[in-house]
């Protein structure tokens, strides 16, 4: 049986088309609408909540089992969630079968089983007079989790650029330029020959010329040329004056000190003064990340100690008694520590010094360990804590950061994977830490901290979307940008109330369009997809599945 299941936060369409099957005798439709009373009380609407990943699977499983008993051709189920006003459909079921009888039985049994086992709830009623919001998204009445964009805005507002420093070019790679550098003079500073040949006056149409001098690349011998005079020049040689042209040596016949032009060409073969850069013109703007090319330009103009972002210090703590070093064989219940090398590798793209340490799982012991590392903690610009990021018994990241003086900005976001992401700030005008005696940070210094959910996939996602953005702001650069691409294959996932950053393999197609191949993962514990992921596709909340060739936003992760 062909099965299509959808959870939606929007009203169910008035008309749902049956599946395009060649043969079906019966197309049966059922709509369950919200009644105007609940438990004897008049109401204006109901709020539905679902466990979306499971609800979709469970509906599909029920239909597959029923199809064994009742031979039907296709089923389409749409369940609406969020606030649904009275009279509007909460559920739509369409069944295609050869004859009506089996379709009717299957529909009846399906509805009975749905009401027993599919994780969807009438969360609360809206009393009469309450005005249901149109569109009706998922509302729970709890403080809403920060969205991806809200989390990024918080990160940006708390991560001010660290004070700039002067650094020699050899140490400036990867840092962000914190000044705009202008050309101190024209480049080239004089007209230069781009060929081996003979410089003559541009207005000179003589038949033959006397060679009056020879200039190599290092020579600087200004002189005026008279009509009929030529100067032998090498590629790169500074020309003796302006208003010349260079005749390629291949186009000249030379006899002693005389030349005759045997082929005429219009090219001047000169790189003119200021052609590359004009004196005073901006070469590199503030905020530029210094790559090899940018450093070469700085070297060209002699700007050898540019003002750049400082190398910053990251202190990374792993937590959890269950992790063992990667070179050890885990006992049952243990896992190898992959987060240390993952974080170290991801930080390679940033000019920073990384210290890594492990914290014992016991909160008091962990605090004691931090007490021994006061200097490292004090010196760090950023503290990362792997694991222990949610509110389980042993998850102490939040209280630990608080004990170090950090104010927690957020501790959960509406994202999968990576929901229990913690972000804290220590010091600065906005942080509460400046008032706390226990703060280890020096006065006027701002530190930021992230508590990263323990699973490597969550680490990967949270690093790229949140930590990398924080680092970019701290060094005064640009935060990673989402780009536009197309799905190379269907992203076969049901609508999720959380926004998703879906691991994908990015390729540039022959048409120059970014194509994204979604990688398989089922939960944040999955790591296999990390082997080939180089992008994260942004799937909005309550949307799915996404068809092949759908336009999507993505974040490249290999830069």
């Amino acid at each position: 049986m062909e099965i299509e299941v959808q959870l939606t936060g929007s009203p169910i369409a008035e008309k749902v088309s049956p599946p395009r099957l060649a043969v079906h005798g019966a197309w049966l439709e059922f709509r369950g609408a919200v009644r105007d009373e609940e438990k004897g009380e008049k109401i204006s609407g109901l709020e539905y909540e679902a466990y979306p990943e499971m609800a979709v699977r469970e509906i599909r499983r029920i239909l597959e089992l029923l199809a064994i008993k009742h031979d039907c051709l296709a089923a389409r189920v749409i369940h609406r969630v969020g606030i649904i006003p009275v009279g509007e459909a909460a559920i739509y079921v369409g069944i295609a079968s050869r004859h009506r009888a089996e379709g009717i039985v299957l529909l009846g049994e399906f509805m009975n089983q749905l009401k027993q086992g599919v994780p969807i709830w009438k969360r609360r009623t809206l009393p009469l007079g309450a005005r249901p919001a149109s569109g009706g998204g998922q509302r729970t009445g709890r403080p809403t989790l920060k969205s991806l964009d809200e989390a990024l805005a918080e990160i940006q507002s708390h991560c001010q650029p660290l004070p700039a420093v002067c650094a020699p070019l050899a140490e400036a790679f990867g840092r962000v330029l914190r000044e705009t550098v202008c050309a101190p003079e024209d480049f080239p500073s004089v007209d230069r020959s781009t060929r081996d040949g003979y410089a003559i006056r541009a207005d000179d149409a003589s038949e033959t010329y006397s060679v009056v001098d020879t200039l190599h690349a290092v020579d600087w011998k200004p002189r005026h040329l008279k009509p009929g005079e030529a100067v032998r020049v090498a590629t790169g040689a500074s020309l003796p004056c302006e208003n010349l042209r260079v005749v390629m040596q291949e186009n000249v016949e030379r006899t002693g000190d005389q030349i005759r032009i045997i082929r005429h060409a219009s090219a001047t073969n000169i790189s003119f003064r200021g052609e590359d850069l004009r004196a005073g013109g901006p070469l590199l703007h503030t905020g530029t990340k210094l790559d090899a090319g940018a450093l070469a330009i700085l070297a060209t103009v002699g700007h050898v100690n540019p003002l750049v972002s400082p190398r910053f210090r990251v202190l990374h703590f792993t937590t959890g008694d269950e992790i063992v070093p990667p070179d050890q064989t885990p006992k049952p219940g243990q896992i190898r520590d992959s987060n240390s090398i993952l974080i170290r590798g991801l930080l390679q793209n940033f000019p920073c010094d990384v210290e890594q340490a492990h914290l014992p799982e016991d909160f008091e012991k962990a605090k004691a360990e931090c007490g021994m590392r006061k200097a490292e903690i004090r010196n760090a610009d950023m503290i990362l804590v792997s694991g222990g990021a949610s509110v389980g018994e042993k998850d102490f990241t939040r209280p630990l950061l608080e004990s170090l003086g950090f104010g927690i900005v957020f501790s959960q976001i509406n994202l999968r994977p990576g929901r229990p992401l913690i972000f804290g700030v220590n010091g600065g005008a906005s942080g509460p830490a400046s008032r706390l005696v226990s703060s280890l940070a020096p006065p006027n210094k701002i530190q930021v901290a992230f508590g990263l959910p323990g699973n490597p996939l969550s680490h990967f996602v949270c690093f790229h979307f949140a930590v990398a953005a924080a680092l970019a702001h701290l060094i005064g650069g640009e935060a990673p940008k989402y780009l536009r691409g197309k799905l190379a294959e269907k992203l076969d996932d049901q609508p999720c109330p959380r926004e998703t950053l879906w691991p994908a393999k990015l390729e540039i197609g022959p048409d120059g369009v970014a194509r994204l191949h979604p990688l398989a993962w089922a939960n944040s514990g999955n790591v296999a997809c990390l082997a080939s992921a180089n992008a994260l596709v942004r799937v909005p909340a309550n949307i799915g599945p996404l068809e092949q060739f759908a336009a999507v936003d993505f974040l490249p992760t290999n830069c």
Partner: protein
């Protein structure tokens, strides 16, 4: 291990998810012990709660591990 709460259980626990890191796989009873220690209010609801593991109702002898997504499902009322 991510543990999710739905519907009225969110009101009981005050959150919709917690993460635990049990050192070894848990059976049903051990999982409940861990949950009740953290959220004693769940005790009154326990007999009406079904456990799921990775989006399927958990078998009686299920083992819940560190990388599982577990959910507590109170009586459903969809449709």
């Amino acid at each position: 291990m991510l543990v999710l709460f739905f519907a009225q259980l969110k009101d009981v626990t005050g959150c919709d998810a917690v993460e635990f890191a049990p050192p070894s796989p848990l059976n049903r009873e051990q999982l409940w012990t861990m949950l009740l220690e953290k959220f004693p209010g769940l005790r009154d609801h326990r007999r009406n709660i079904r456990l799921t593991c990775n989006w399927e109702y958990a078998e009686a002898n299920a083992q819940f591990t560190n990388t599982d997504e577990v959910a507590l499902i109170p009586p459903v009322s969809g449709g």
